[in-house]
Chain length 453, copies 2
């Protein structure tokens, strides 16, 4: 048992990169909590209680979008700007740090490098760090600006809002969309724009670009500039899985809700298709809604449970266990059923270590969601479907809600705070901490095979 506390010991070491990420996010959440508690942050000029402030700050930094008070109704414009800032910091932070951790893992393990010239160094050189940070910031600002422009024009020209109001709403929802944050300045999210493609499509595009992950976008960028010939395995698996899950989401929502009088029922065919598309995208942890989630069919809810748990691409603004983690396990099972001793993914061999990491991320995630659901069932009168949906929404930093979050007791809110934070950082830090771990016990024990199944 010499190395038994290996990961824990290394994780608590001050300079472990995964630990720095966790501490950085925790400090940002604390700063946000303090700012939101100030009387100036609230609509009525009175101090907000610490649980509400902590919940909102965590939800913003972790780009979740679950709320215990209506965003526009409770917070002042100052408070809203604080939330916007927390979303932006959280989104930039997660993309930058997850990309750097991913690079560190690739580099430390001596596998294929992004830049072969740097293969000798043990850590990432400052140039690479700068280029990731610059790339993330540039990408975020460009996409957010374009989305904000499109939304502002629509709000002003289509809905007669003033330029000031339209621009503020355009920027807020653009930043919230690109960062897959799901915060909206309307109490019913984007439901009033449900059938307006000029609002819904820019939001959907921003959500997808933000959620597919920086490494994939970086690769697309390099390819567009003619610098790369082959797509990496990561990019191919991400794009393929992201697209597949998106189609599943759209088809499931369309099929199960088509005649539901509480959702798609009252809409025309065009409206049904647009809302179906929007709600096929939003479980990829965007969190905006254009129909009332409280009214969806139990079947849709269950499909969404799975889609939200899986989430989006690695090192993007989306949450969940990530589409690659999900896809890799599918390939492991496929290999097992095919009777192959090694796991092959699109012409590449999958290291055994990665398989175990994916398994660990998924099962720890299942354990966390299970525990939170159980706690919500103990603490509240809500049923399994609602408690499970809200837990997965918090874990996957999705922000979709059947409406129970606003009715939770304090302890229930704290359960979701912990779940949002661990759900946001858990899969990333766990996977990288696991991958960066030392090689354990070298001495061999005799092998023995218990019966499975």
């Amino acid at each position: 048992m010499r190395h038994s506390a290996g990961l824990l010991r290394r994780f608590t070491r001050a300079n472990h990169p995964a630990r720095m990420v966790v501490v950085g996010f925790a400090l940002t959440v604390l700063v946000g909590t303090v700012l939101l508690m100030l009387p100036v942050s609230a609509q009525h000029g009175t101090a907000t209680n610490w649980v509400t402030a902590l919940f909102t700050s965590t939800s913003a930094v972790c780009v979740t979008g679950l709320v215990v008070v209506d965003t526009a109704g409770h917070w002042s414009t100052f408070g809203e700007v604080v939330i916007l800032g927390l979303i932006q910091v959280g989104g930039l932070g997660i993309m930058t740090l997850a990309s750097l951790l991913g690079m560190l893992v690739v580099r430390r393990l001596g596998l294929r490098m992004r830049r072969r010239a740097q293969a000798e160094t043990k850590s990432i050189d400052l140039g690479a760090v700068r280029s990731v940070i610059a790339g993330v910031i540039a990408l975020s600002l460009v996409i957010e600006a374009l989305t904000a422009l499109a939304l502002t024009l629509r709000f002003v020209l289509g809905y007669g809002q003033s330029w000031g109001h339209g621009a503020y709403f355009g920027v807020f929802h653009a930043v919230s969309a690109f960062n897959n944050a799901g915060f909206a300045l309307y109490p019913d999210s984007l439901q009033r724009y449900a059938t307006d493609p000029l609002v819904c499509l820019p939001v959907v595009l921003a959500v997808i670009v933000g959620g597919v992950g920086f490494p994939v976008l970086f690769e697309i960028g390099r390819r567009l500039r003619g610098k790369r010939r082959h797509w990496s395995l990561h990019a191919r698996v991400t794009v393929g899985t992201y697209t597949t899950l998106l189609l599943v989401g759209v088809l499931a929502f369309g099929a199960f809700e088509w005649n539901n009088p509480d959702t798609l029922g009252p809409l025309g065919t065009g409206g049904k298709l647009l809302v179906g598309l929007f709600h096929g995208v939003t479980p990829r942890t965007a969190g905006f809604t254009t129909v009332d989630i409280g009214g969806i069919d139990p079947t849709t809810m269950l499909v969404n449970d799975v889609l939200m748990f899986v989430g989006g691409g690695s090192a993007g603004t989306a949450g969940g266990i990530k589409v690659t983690t999900f896809a890799l396990l599918a390939f492991v099972i496929l290999a097992e059923v095919r009777g192959e001793s090694q796991v092959h993914v699109l012409g590449r061999k999958l290291p055994v270590g990665v398989q175990r990491q994916a398994l660990t991320v998924v099962l720890v995630g299942v354990g966390m969601v299970f525990t939170a659901t159980l706690l919500l069932l103990v603490l509240t009168p809500f049923k399994l479907d609602a408690a499970l949906f809200e837990s997965i929404s918090a874990f996957g930093t999705v922000g979709l809600s059947t409406g129970i979050t606003e009715q939770l007791p304090r302890l229930g809110e704290l359960v979701l705070v912990v779940l949002m934070f661990t759900g946001r950082l858990g899969p990333i830090t766990m996977a990288s901490a696991l991958a960066l771990r030392e090689r354990g016990r070298r001495y061999d024990l005799p092998e023995e095979r218990p019966i499975v199944g």
Copy 2:
């Protein structure tokens, strides 16, 4: 893709052992269905429709215990005896065949043998087969006889039943208990005996002995005769995990139901403890109840969902993915978190192949339960908690019901029929078919590591 259909091809080969098990069970179910459709099998002397007969036959052969008609109310004594026979054949069959498949796996892979002298042969010799069959039959008859005796004496002496009636009820419930079948001759299962330890304890003991699995009992038997010095890894993991889950079940049921007016609330402390013990044991796929499952707390239900999915010991009468499968994955995660490159379980190294098999069994099981739950949600007005509980109960061949099985439409009944059959045979045949597979593609592809989490 040369070997892409490896497992499938080998599985469809006539003499693949896993396939023979599936065909054997399917034929038994068909014979049972025909017998139960006969007018003589029904109380009223009229033919029973094929769906009800198929459901009941499947439930009996797979020792599940879910029913769409009240057992004593619908079937004649002849029909009841048919059910009893199907339970006995199903229980003996699963114990024998799973034990033999397990031995075949161990032998084929050239690992530690039960008898070293036979290590050279490629298959199991007839002597070993005979000894397993004889052992299973002897064990079943002895335990069933002892349980039947205890129950009969109690029914006759404690409740004034006639010797004939008491013996019939004693035998039926003893066989049903040992085979973890959960069929009862009372419409409310064993609720009338909830506070009678002289009925409950023999049933609990029979359930545990039947459910822990023949390989473990075989080892205990050999040890009692002084023939074996060390416990196998399989026995240690099974007993440890079975006991732990049993305690979790008892504690959860006691804690969450203590004051529930629909379950433990009205009982005295002694009664609460006895029912708590009984319902801590019964999710290990026994299926008998001594309180109304429809009245349990959502929290208890969720804990039971997990316990029922895990089930009992390998090659016993219990169902589920099996306690070893569950425990092995926990050890894989533990090794991963500790930063160890190999997985060690109680001083033994776990082969990578077994890890992947356990993963496959669990995730395919999750997929099956998910699909069935989704279908039930589509086909019925029931909520997620009830649909999920019933699906897991069918998959794990548990037989606990919140009451919705009797209200299902035909298609819903057929969903559960498929789930009971695949849940009973899937984990066993999948695990052994996977373990017996040929070694696949030998040529190597370049390794590449996508980002996880």
